[in-house]
Amino acid sequence: MQSTLVLEIFIGVAGLAIVLMLWLANYRSSDPIPQADVSATGYAIRRYWLWTTLIVAVAVFAFTVPQFPYQKAKADANARHYPVVAQQYSFSMPSTLPLNTPIVFDVTSKDVNHGFGIYGPNDKIFSQVQAMPDYVNHLAVTFTVPGHYTVRCLEYCGIAHAAMQGGFDVK
């Protein structure tokens, strides 16, 4: 759901930037004025423009920090842990998982780097984490929609990378 919104924001802002830049370039282009005149207004606008973008960037950062996924696995002591072990080219993991229950996937790999990408019943990415050899990544999730979830490898792992799939049912 969120990624659709991201696409809309992207197309909207990019479109706006393209139109604005083309308009500024072509505005009364046959009626030139000295560079000093453009600079005088331009520098004044630029100061606000630069500060605005920087403040927006820092604000976005501050706003997104609480949504980072890294603390979630430690936050819920009562979450049920499920191991996920990836290897070329399959996942070993439970086939059924509970609905509306906090879950932590303990994800690792037997050989190379893999990606544990969970696709929801609507076939959009629900969540993901890397599966690394010698390391365990803890991914906390709570499934609120029942159905069949597909797991796809989301890190290049070798010749059958695109065929590396699995799945589980949430009931």
Partner: protein, 246 residues
């Protein structure tokens, strides 16, 4: 002679003295990361003395590419000298060890000296580069990460099925036995009793777990090499664990 040059010679002399320590200290085993860091210190000493001793070239326009080539290549060569699997051999052979130390020190020196001779400031860049490489090596070059214990904070967590970490940490003996029967038994006999190849009964007394894995991954002829074409890294671990039980 300027103070700078005197300081340079003193640092060089001290670093050479440090490089000679294996001569008096005899055989000691140091973990690879610490070994890397000691080498980094030798490089830093050689580098610092070079930066003090070299007369920097101000003539960038005609700076000689020979110096530049030397300055960029020496870090590469120094890293190759820091070959982690050779460290065990060096620890038993003091004369080889000090040659290796002097080589590393020398390459650190050349990196800085050649860089400064090419153009002022370049020696600092190439020098910081090689010191960074040597220090950063300690966290991964020849160093494997041990899986950390699971974060088990609650009772539910502990009651979960086999944790992923345990599945990786304890090798799969059954699978190891199967792989042994498929790939190794032809020569070593069923259950390792011996055949064309040597018996592996009580192999544990000759090679520890890590050595057994290393041998499987990198054997000497006539034993064929199955890793990584046939056996994965985790297969090797399973087979080695199985052999240790014979």
């Amino acid at each position: 002679m300027s103070v700078k040059k005197i300081l340079g010679w003193i640092i060089l002399a001290l670093t050479v003295l440090v490089a000679l320590i294996p001569l008096v200290r005899g055989a000691v085993e140091i973990p690879i990361p610490q070994h890397h860091l000691i080498h980094a210190a030798l490089i830093a000493g050689g580098l610092l003395s070079a930066l003090l001793l070299a007369t920097p070239s101000r003539d960038v326009g005609s700076g000689h590419y020979g110096w530049l080539l030397l300055a960029v290549f020496s870090p590469f060569a120094a890293m190759l000298l820091m070959w982690p699997s050779e460290y065990a051999w060096y620890e038993r052979h003091a004369s080889g060890h000090i040659l290796e130390h002097l080589g590393i020190l020398g390459l650190g020196f050349i990196t800085g000296y050649a860089g400064q001779r090419y153009a002022a400031g370049v020696g600092w860049a190439t020098g910081l580069s090689v010191v960074f490489m040597a220090v950063a090596s300690a966290w991964g070059f020849g160093v494997a990460h041990a899986i950390s214990p699971m974060v088990t904070t609650g009772t539910t967590a502990q009651s979960a099925a086999t944790s992923a970490a345990q599945m990786l940490r304890s090798p799969d003996l059954a699978l190891g036995g199967k792989l042994f029967a498929q790939n190794c038994a032809v020569c070593h006999g069923a259950h390792g009793v011996g055949g064309e190849g040597p018996s592996l009964i009580a192999e544990k007394s000759r090679k520890n777990f890590a050595q057994a894995q290393q041998w499987i991954m990198n054997p000497s002829p006539p034993m064929p090499k199955f890793y990584p074409a046939v056996l994965t890294r985790s297969d090797v671990r399973d087979v080695a664990a199985y052999i240790e039980t014979l």
